[in-house]
């Protein structure tokens, strides 16, 4: 029988003993009761070894979430005692309808590859132990999957503890990673990518960071409860602004060869026959109107169609497309 098995057995017995007592039991009383703590109390070295062992066991139980209370039963007790109150220990009754259980299963699966996986599965284990049946494959009609991002759990723990973090970050314009300090407010999955939003203490302003650009690990720094969250917190909005770049709305008019550029036509505000003859075919150009929010992205897209799409206006867009095409032709 291995040491760890004997230790596990002792810990289970300790939990049962502390749960079964109403009085606070002193370490000495526990040593005389729970198997595995037997020792000669009069031998200082043995007694010290027991005390170290008992401290470690208590710490392990508390780490697991067992609420070990410390106190004395009577004013005449000189030594502190320990007990576990059933009402603090036990998960309260929880009855979940089948679709609610499916929802919980879905929530746990969400973390499978995105941090928090072990916390989610141990939570599920406890709910099952409370009598809930979770079909691990049940869905609510839609099966959500998110990409793995190991930093998510560290960041969520930091948000929960209101603790700052430090990480090396390489922004889209940085050559080398730069160490950043952030008071994280929350984590966002935006367009399938993970971000953290918070107060950048180096820059003295709100900032968003894309987690895929974090080099190495995210480390918690400083004390817990170091900051408070802003009252009005729009995490999605913060990331959308961060990634949205220019918010230069507009409409472009382009000429499109008949039958070409299906993707452009799908999202178009209007498609009309222009009547202008196409120089190289017997057909006439179609006039297509497209709305845009990011002129740079639209220029890339229009240039991608080559001669199938010719920009009429606005002039800056027309110039940008020609610039793209010329750069390629001159290479």
């Amino acid at each position: 029988v291995g040491v760890s098995r004997r230790r596990t057995e002792r810990l289970v017995n300790l939990v049962l003993c502390l749960l079964s007592t109403r009085r606070f039991l002193t370490a000495t009383q526990i040593a005389r009761t729970v198997p595995g703590y037997e020792h000669d109390e009069n031998d200082p070295r043995e007694h010290e070894a027991f005390q170290r062992m008992f401290e470690r066991d208590k710490a392990e139980l508390r780490e697991l979430g067992v609420p070990v209370e410390t106190g004395t039963t009577s004013v005449f007790d000189t030594e502190p005692g320990y007990r576990v109150a059933e009402r603090d220990y036990a998960l309260p009754d929880i009855h979940l309808a089948p679709d609610e259980a499916a929802a919980v299963g879905l929530a746990a699966r969400l973390w499978q590859s995105a941090g928090l996986a072990s916390a989610a599965s141990s939570a599920l284990l406890k709910l099952r132990a409370a009598g809930m049946d979770v079909d691990p494959t049940a869905t609510l009609g839609v099966e959500p999957v998110v990409a793995g991002e190991p930093a998510v759990d560290v960041l969520l723990a930091a948000v929960r503890a209101r603790r700052g973090v430090r990480f090396d970050y390489r922004g889209s314009h940085d050559d080398e990673p730069v160490t950043r300090h952030l008071e994280p407010w929350g984590v966002v999955s935006w367009h399938g990518r993970w971000y953290v939003v918070g107060y950048d203490t180096d820059r003295g302003a709100q900032r968003s960071f894309r987690l895929s650009r974090v080099a190495g690990v995210v480390k918690p720094v400083g004390r817990e409860g170091a900051y408070t969250l802003p009252d009005q917190l729009d995490l999605l909005g913060a990331v959308a602004t961060f990634e949205g770049g220019s918010v230069d709305h507009g409409e472009a008019v382009v000429r499109v060869r008949p039958g070409a550029a299906a993707g452009l036509r799908r999202g178009a505000a209007a498609v009309e026959q222009s009547g202008d003859p196409h120089p190289d075919t017997p057909e006439t150009w179609d006039a297509v109107t497209v709305g845009y929010r990011d002129p740079g992205a639209l220029a890339r897209r229009l240039a991608g169609y080559g001669g199938d799409v010719v920009v009429t206006g606005p002039p800056e867009l027309r110039a940008a497309v020609v610039r793209h095409l010329r750069a390629v032709a001159d290479r």
């Binding site: 998110v146 999955s189 220029a299």
Partner: protein, 326 residues
């Protein structure tokens, strides 16, 4: 597995079995996420644990045979331990994030489950209440049309009916009509997909909901071949085929987003900040459009016919801009 993990499991095993008298050991092991042998080891250990006195009437007792197990004395371990703050956080935050995703549906099950969990978790959940995870999806951006399409597509999945869809394929820049046998609806990395058997292609395809231009439920059953679909999509919805041609590009720093946006087989950085990426595409026309659009920021290193195609496309396109100064 650590000793702490095992202890956590042991504290859950007794109440779990208590709630399910006569359960098959193999089924219990599957639910608890361990092998049958591990569970039998756990039970052997629990047999030796009990209440002070540790006599025959004090120890945890159970009827364990080849097949099944029934707890007959729980020694006071009738309920699982409360959720820790981390456990409550994991479930509460995920439920809340999912409940806010438009089109998730579920008839309020997410919200109801959330309320029950929050009340059962108590203080642990209160801490989780201060942590936000938000997920956006295409449905939240694109609004009503996609919402209606999602209703049609989910209806077909629920009722097990085939669908006729008009679908835009970005790789070929073409819209086609096809009949598909729906398998499931996926929400992967913020986008909604219909996974279905495409009768024309005779293969499983994942259709982006925002590229389904029309969908009609047919009066015939959805009949994908047995075993089709249901695969793991955590590595991405689109896995390039190994036989697809490889394209190697040199991307200037300004075009580094390409390496983050498209699944690349290789991405190596050069001393000057440029990145050399290799990606696979079933359609060189797609690659030509990508490179043309990147202009000065991308150079085709391989294959040479792509480099030629890109250059000649740019040259012939420039003929339509006679007024633009060189």
């Amino acid at each position: 597995m650590s000793a702490t993990d095992r202890l956590g499991r042991l504290l859950a095993v007794v109440p779990y079995l208590l709630a399910r008298p006569g359960i098959r050991v193999a089924d219990a092991a599957g639910d608890l996420g361990v092998t049958e042998q591990q569970l039998r080891d756990d039970l052997q250990l629990l047999f030796l644990c009990g209440l002070p006195g540790y006599g025959p009437g004090d120890l945890i007792d159970m009827v364990l045979d080849e097949e099944t197990v029934t707890i007959t004395f729980d020694a006071g371990m009738s309920r699982p331990l409360r959720l820790t703050a981390d456990e409550a956080l994991a479930l509460v935050v995920a439920l809340r994030a999912l409940a806010e995703v438009p089109g998730m549906g579920g008839g309020g099950a997410l919200e109801r489950a959330l309320a029950k969990l929050e009340s059962a978790a108590g203080d642990a959940a209160a801490e989780a209440g201060r942590v936000s995870v938000r997920m956006d999806t295409d449905a939240s951006v694109q609004g009503r049309t996609d919402g209606e399409r999602l209703t049609v597509v989910r209806g077909a999945v629920d009722r097990g009916r085939a669908l006729r869809i008009t679908y835009y394929t970005a790789a070929r820049d073409a819209t086609t009509e096809r009949v598909v046998d729906p398998i499931r609806v996926l929400l992967v990395e913020g986008r909604t997909y219909l996974e279905a058997w495409c009768r024309g292609a005779e293969a499983v395809r994942r259709f982006r909901l925002d590229r389904i231009d029309a969908a009609t439920e047919l009066d015939e059953p959805s009949a994908p071949p047995p075993g089709a679909g249901g695969g793991d999509v955590t590595g991405g919805v689109f896995q390039p085929e190994p036989g697809d041609p490889a394209v190697t590009l040199r991307l200037a720093r300004r075009a580094r987003w390409v390496a983050e946006y498209y699944p690349c087989e290789k991405a190596e950085e050069e001393p000057d900040g440029a990145t050399i990426v290799t990606l696979r595409t079933g359609d060189l026309g797609w690659a030509r459009r990508l490179v043309l659009g990147l202009g000065a920021d991308a150079e085709v290193l391989d294959p040479p016919e792509l480099a030629d195609a890109v250059r000649s496309a740019a040259e012939s396109a420039l003929k339509y801009y006679p007024d633009q100064p060189v």
